[in-house]
């Protein structure tokens, strides 16, 4: 980015805006809610990381089944991706939380099981819904990525006598991931933007914390501004992280 005169002016304007926000808006609630805010940010990041990792692990077989599997595997994988991508995440979340949540207590053996203390809370449903959603979108991305690896590479590996799992682990998967990496970065940002939905099923992430501040103090704009800044910062970290990942691998692909 070059510093043209108009950019210096824009930066000064932005700085003035920040100073104005800091001085004339109400921030006195901030110290009191700081621990809660930190907890909220931690929970948002935790949900993002867990669901993105689990979702990606699910997406690999989904993509593989669609790219190379027999139709018995490819058809269900395709149907799963279509359904997940064709319905709103909020609906999926509420279906799991309210639907399963109202179904489980009817069975005594579930109530008696060791999992019950967890199933009564909201976060397992949030993690499940977000994981399935990420898997659905990424399954489609991985399908394209698996297909885009040149056949010659796989044939060469086969000719060297590599077993199929070794081919997948050493040749196919690394190259597919490398090709999908730019898309994955964008999709992870989208996943971050989907996390505040979990606040609607009583998981206390940073969005829910901001909502509580607004309810407690009747301050309208300041918590929302804080929220926007927090999400922009996390997005910035994600974008930089993925850029670093992309540069770390050798860029040359045959």
């Amino acid at each position: 980015m070059r510093l043209y005169p108009h950019r210096i002016l824009l930066i000064l304007l932005a700085a003035a805006l920040v100073v104005w926000c800091a001085v004339s808006l109400r921030w006195d609630w901030l110290p009191k809610y700081l621990p809660l805010i930190a907890e909220g940010i931690w929970r948002t990041v935790w949900i993002l990381v867990v669901t993105a990792v689990l979702g990606f692990l699910l997406a690999i077989p989904l993509g593989l089944a669609q790219a190379a599997g027999p139709w018995v595997l490819a058809a269900p994988a395709r149907a799963f991706c279509t359904v997940i991508r064709g319905t709103p995440l909020l609906l999926q979340l509420w279906l799991l939380y309210y639907g399963l949540g109202s179904l489980f207590p009817q069975y005594p053996w579930i109530r008696g099981s060791e999992l019950w203390p967890y199933l009564r809370q909201a976060w397992p449903y949030a993690v499940l819904a977000l994981t399935l959603s990420f898997a659905g979108y990424e399954g489609e991305v991985m399908r394209g990525a698996f297909r885009s690896v040149p056949r010659g590479q796989l044939e060469a590996a086969k000719a060297m006598g590599m077993p199929r799992l070794t081919i997948l682990r050493r040749i196919w998967l690394p190259q597919a991931i490398q090709r999908a990496l730019p898309t994955l970065g964008g999709e992870t940002v989208l996943q971050l933007k989907a996390t505040p939905l979990v606040a609607t099923i009583t998981v206390v992430d940073i969005y829910a914390v901001a909502g509580r501040v607004r309810q407690d103090t009747f301050i309208v704009y300041e918590p929302l501004l804080l929220l926007a800044v927090v999400y922009m910062l996390i997005t910035g970290v994600l974008v930089l992280g993925f850029r670093w990942l992309e540069q770390r691998r050798p860029a040359k692909v045959a």
């Binding site: 043209y4 108009h6 950019r7 824009l10 279509t82 359904v83 991508r85 064709g86 319905t87 709103p88 995440l89 909020l90 609906l91 999926q92 509420w94 279906l95 309210y98 639907g99 109202s102 179904l103 940002v189 971050l192 933007k193 989907a194 996390t195 505040p196 939905l197 609607t200 969005y207 309208v220 704009y221 929302l224 929220l227 926007a228 999400y231 922009m232 997005t235 910035g236």
Partner: protein, 247 residues
């Protein structure tokens, strides 16, 4: 049909007449489609202007547009909806009151269209910018050499030629628009997801209603996917060899 009803008694709840909630669901679906259409249209207008601004605008305009697209794509739609929905309504009313007018109630439909339109505009700017860049330079230069004024150049050459390139991205945006309407449930607008939740909450038949709403959304998605496929084929009717080459 009778046997099906006997096996799943909760299906009766989906009837269109008042004891059933099917009518409410369909009304919600119509609301959702209206908002999605409005937001998509507004997004296209903003996106076209934004794309031209980014490509041909001055340095200040370009930087401002970059800030707009970056911020909108980094902040969750839910937060943007809250900021725009509450803050903008409030600001408009404050301005009206200070000028001596009565307060207005911004309707949920208009607010929803405005908010989602601004979000869609940011994505549409990027899609259309890419598509305009994909138009062969020679065609634009030829039109300029023929002495076409800029607006006619856009209308006759650039926009029709870029439509084929833009279609996949725009189809994606339309799907995002239909699904983002669900977010308006959180500010209490009666679109499909909120209607579904109310129906499910009052009858306790959660699975029936959420699955029915899912089927409605899925139908909408699949039908529009087919429609966009046809439009794309129509938009690419001129560039046969290139269309083939790009698969």
């Amino acid at each position: 049909m009778e046997a099906l009803l006997e096996a799943f008694p909760s299906l009766g709840l989906l009837a269109l007449e008042p004891p059933g909630w099917g009518g409410n669901l369909l009304r919600g679906l119509v609301n959702s489609i209206q908002i999605a259409l409005g937001a998509f249209g507004l997004g296209l207008v903003i996106g076209t202007l934004g794309a031209y601004g980014k490509l041909y605008g001055g340095p200040v305009l370009r930087d401002l547009l970059a800030i707009y697209t970056t911020v909108v794509r980094a902040v969750p739609e839910l937060v943007l909806i809250l900021i725009l929905y509450y803050a903008v309504t409030d600001l408009v009313n404050q301005a009206l009151v200070s000028f001596g007018y009565a307060r207005v109630q911004v309707s949920g439909l208009m607010a929803g269209i405005a908010v989602l339109g601004v979000v869609q505009g940011a994505y549409a700017t990027e899609v259309l910018r890419g598509a305009i860049l994909a138009v062969p330079v020679g065609q634009v230069e030829a039109a300029r050499a023929m002495g076409m004024p800029p607006v006619m150049l856009a209308r006759r050459i650039t926009l029709p030629a870029m439509l084929g390139f833009a279609m996949p991205g725009l189809a994606n945006l339309w799907l995002i628009a239909t699904k983002d309407t669900a977010l308006l449930a959180i500010v209490g607008f009666g679109e499909l997801t909120l209607e579904t939740r109310q129906a499910a909450g009052s009858t306790k038949a959660y699975f029936t209603f959420f699955l029915a709403a899912g089927a409605l959304y899925l139908t909408l998605t699949l039908v529009s996917g087919w429609l966009f496929g046809r439009i794309e084929r129509w938009a690419r009717r001129g560039d046969r060899e290139m269309g083939r080459a790009r698969g």
